[in-house]
């Protein structure tokens, strides 16, 4: 695997809808990555939510992309799978994979069409258990995969020659990726109203 040059811009992105149970995996994973690791200037960490085409400018600015997402590979719930480069779906009729594949596939295609798609892509996907529980939290098998997924991202970055360093001091509230009661802990604490 080629290591990145000093100037390479890297985007670490989480996508999905936090209000739809396991659909929120990607956002929760990137939230946790950001909470635990400090990264050099050339890395951007982004909670992409369900923004679809609006994310294209972030992709354009990146030479390399790591994306966390809930994927449907028909695997056991909670199973992780890493997909690389051309395997990251961008072709019509590709196997069903991301739950908003059309959306994200189009983002990649659009960046490609503009001639500015990241050269290296890594999708860290997790097979969901439950997508129908509106307002519900991540299910246990998916929640248990957040730390392994974060570790995979750290590993990929290391192979690209970039070190994500564990934070020495805990992240102040004002710098968290998600706030206002929708951060993972507060969201789940009261996700199921009595």
């Amino acid at each position: 695997m080629p290591t990145s040059s000093q100037a390479d811009r890297i985007l670490v992105l989480g996508i999905g809808n936090i209000l739809w149970a396991d659909e929120g995996f990607g956002v929760r994973a990137v939230e946790e990555f950001h909470r635990r690791y400090a990264v050099p200037e050339n890395i951007t960490i982004l909670d992409g939510g369900t923004q679809g085409l609006y994310l294209v400018n972030y992709l354009e600015d990146a030479d390399r992309l790591i994306v966390f997402d809930a994927i449907d590979y028909g695997l056991e719930p909670g199973q992780l799978k890493v997909v690389r480069d051309e395997e990251v779906p961008r072709f019509t009729g590709a196997k069903k994979m991301s739950l908003h594949q059309t959306g994200f596939q189009e983002v990649i295609s659009a960046a490609d069409l503009l001639g500015r798609c990241p050269k290296h892509l890594a999708l860290i996907g997790c097979q969901p258990l439950d997508l129908q529980d509106w307002g519900g939290p991540l299910t246990a098998p998916v929640r248990d995969q957040i730390n392994p997924a974060v570790a995979l991202a750290v590993d990929i970055l290391a192979k690209w020659g970039v070190e994500a360093a564990p934070r020495t001091a805990s992240l102040p509230e004002s710098e968290r990726l998600l706030a206002n009661d929708i951060d993972h802990i507060h969201y789940e604490m009261r996700a199921r109203p009595a």
Binding site: W20, D47, T50, Q51, Y54, F91, H100, T102, E106, L131
Partner: protein
């Protein structure tokens, strides 16, 4: 069997049934079923949101000051407008006022969203219903250049530019990765543009893709971050410090100048690219004036963009407010969100349960209790519906009505209300657009009219942004740098119980949130979103909603390629994510079209 609905439409479901599921290139998941007669003309239409809505449930017992952050997550395309509606609802309930700068900044954010959404909707979600991408490959770049220069002074119009673009497009298509251009019915006779107009439109598709990201910088600057900007009950979260140079998050002159230059560019794009493109494309579809539906009959606009902070009356709102019924443009009725007899939601054909389903409920008293049962004539099973029974419950969308009337909302509704109110800033551009195409006023009430109203509104919104940016800068220079009112920030200062509402005009139509607060927590929260209005199922009296009405009497070239259905449904810029919630995870499948 033929029936007439109380709102004047003839329905006949005896012909061949066509199912389009899902409708692609929209946010969320929806399904349309129609019956066509022997000449392939649509005679019955059934629109359904196949997802369950439940933000109401998840917000219960949360802090009202955080509600915006949840509502911002409902949907991927109108994040900011839900957040704005939410903070307005809380402010209305608790009697919180905001400073004038906050009003200007909120207007700038709302208008920026309007422009960005309209541009992205037209070029990236809707244009491909009119533009045949594959046909662009056979265009003559020189003739394309002549065409482009005849409609606008936009500089990117040389033969070489179009030649390069065509080469790029060819390479992209030949690589087999149609990407955003998949799911098109390329080559269909329902496409009417010559290759050169198709190539010009594809060029602008790419330019718009590149440009839209500039617009969102306004949200990043005022909202602190993007794609999920910050909002604040009582104002806006960005402090103003004009003399500051590097203060984190503060608005200084450098940032205000950046915003100003983005506004100049978006005004230019609207006026030199977007509106001329819509007019040029429209000129080839002048004989395709289907899709009017409710637009010439019953339209509703809440109004938005207040001139004066905290004044949400019609006289202060720059986007028009009012209701028109029975096609009588001579009378525009006032709208009151607090009146229990005006806005009500019905569920007799929706997958919810009310104690008495013959009656509607005002959102303050709204109930969201799911009840998923199919009508007796439905075909298939609950997990694999083959055909819906519109005589029973058939949608996860509720049916909102204004004084019992099904209403269309959205850019066309807003412009029809503004036109009926004889406001020149709405009437004159409509008259000019129609005159340039030699079309009568009646042509406005069509799919094309809906698409044109959106382009006219984008132009209008760009100019309003210039106005509010200048107003903001003038006020700051006069010494007022206040952006937030924290007098009632602390819950101890709130009454034990309170209720309120907030409204906006989202890009796709009238949006309102109703809130009840009890012991400082949310007790009930109801959103009535634009696609709930437009995509509503039938009500107890049998009135059909805007989507269903718009499809009636449209002839289809080929029912196996439902381009006409997509064109008209897309013209509403539907967004199902917030009107409903996903029921099955198959939303990314290619569109299935079934003909029975």
């Amino acid at each position: 069997m033929g029936i007439q609905t109380p709102n004047g439409f003839n329905l006949d479901n005896s012909g061949k049934r066509i199912v389009v599921d899902p409708v692609t290139r929209i946010e969320g998941h929806m399904r349309v079923e129609v019956n066509v007669d022997a000449d392939n003309v649509i005679r019955n239409a059934v629109s359904t949101g196949t997802m369950w809505r439940g933000i109401e449930v998840i917000l219960k017992n949360r802090d009202p000051r955080d509600a915006w952050a949840f509502t911002e997550r409902i949907c991927g395309v109108c994040t900011g407008t839900h957040a704005l509606t939410s903070v307005r609802a809380v402010e209305n309930a608790l009697g919180i006022t905001i400073p004038q700068n906050a009003n200007s900044i909120r207007n700038l954010m709302q208008l920026a969203l309007q422009v960005q959404d309209h541009i992205v909707h037209f070029y990236h979600l809707h244009a491909l219903d009119w533009v045949d991408v594959i046909s662009a490959l056979s265009a003559d770049p020189r003739a394309t250049s002549t065409l482009a220069q005849s409609i606008s002074s936009w500089p990117l119009s040389s033969p070489g530019y179009f030649k390069d673009l065509q080469t790029r497009l060819k390479k992209f298509v030949e690589s087999g990765q149609l990407g955003p251009f998949k799911n098109g019915y390329w080559g269909s006779k329902a496409y009417k543009l010559p290759p050169e107009a198709n190539l010009m439109a594809v060029a602008h598709y790419l330019e718009a893709l590149d440009f839209q990201k500039e617009i969102v910088k306004i949200h990043t600057i005022f909202g602190g971050k993007n794609p999920h900007p910050n909002w604040l009950v009582g104002g806006v979260p960005c402090p103003i410090n004009v003399d500051g140079t590097g203060a984190v998050g503060a608005i200084n002159m450098e940032r205000l100048n950046l915003i100003s230059s983005i506004i100049d560019r978006l005004i230019e794009f609207n006026e030199q690219v977007y509106l001329p493109d819509v007019a040029a494309i429209g000129s080839f579809y002048k004989d395709w004036l289907y899709g009017g539906g409710l637009s010439g009959q019953s339209v509703l606009a809440y109004g938005d963009v207040p001139e004066h902070a905290n004044d949400y009356s019609s006289s202060s709102l720059k986007l028009p407010r009012g209701a028109i019924i029975n096609g009588n443009l001579a009378e525009v009725f006032p709208v009151d969100h607090a009146n229990p007899d005006e806005i009500q939601e019905f569920v007799v054909h929706s997958w919810y349960k009310y104690p008495d389903e013959t009656k509607g409920l005002h959102p303050w008293d709204g109930v969201t209790e799911p009840n998923y049962v199919l009508g007796p004539n439905a075909k298939g099973t609950k997990t694999a519906i083959e055909q819906l029974d519109e005589g029973g419950k058939y949608s996860w969308i509720k049916a909102p009505r204004w004084r019992g009337n099904a209403m269309e909302v959205g850019p066309l509704a807003r412009w029809v209300v503004g036109y009926a109110q004889n406001k020149s800033e709405f009437k004159d551009p409509v008259d000019k657009f129609l005159k340039d195409l030699s079309l009568p006023l009646s042509a406005l009430f069509s799919t094309l009219g809906r698409t044109a109203a959106r382009a006219l509104e984008s132009v209008w919104a760009g100019r309003q942004m210039r106005y509010f940016q200048d107003k903001l800068v003038a006020n700051i220079k006069a010494g007022d740098s206040s952006t937030a009112n924290v007098d009632k920030w602390k819950p101890e200062s709130w009454p034990k119980e309170a209720k309120g509402f907030g409204f906006t005009e989202a890009p796709r139509g009238a949006l309102a949130h109703w809130i009840r607060i009890k012991d400082t927590k949310i007790d009930n929260y109801q959103c009535v979103v634009p696609t709930t209005w437009n995509g509503s199922p039938r009500d107890p009296k049998g009135n059909i909603g805007a989507f269903e009405a718009s499809l009636l009497n449209t002839p289809m070239v080929n029912p196996e390629q439902p381009l006409e259905i997509l064109r008209t449904i897309h013209s509403f810029d539907p967004c199902l994510a917030c009107s409903t919630h996903v029921m099955s995870p198959d939303g990314q499948e290619l569109a299935k079209v079934k003909v029975r």
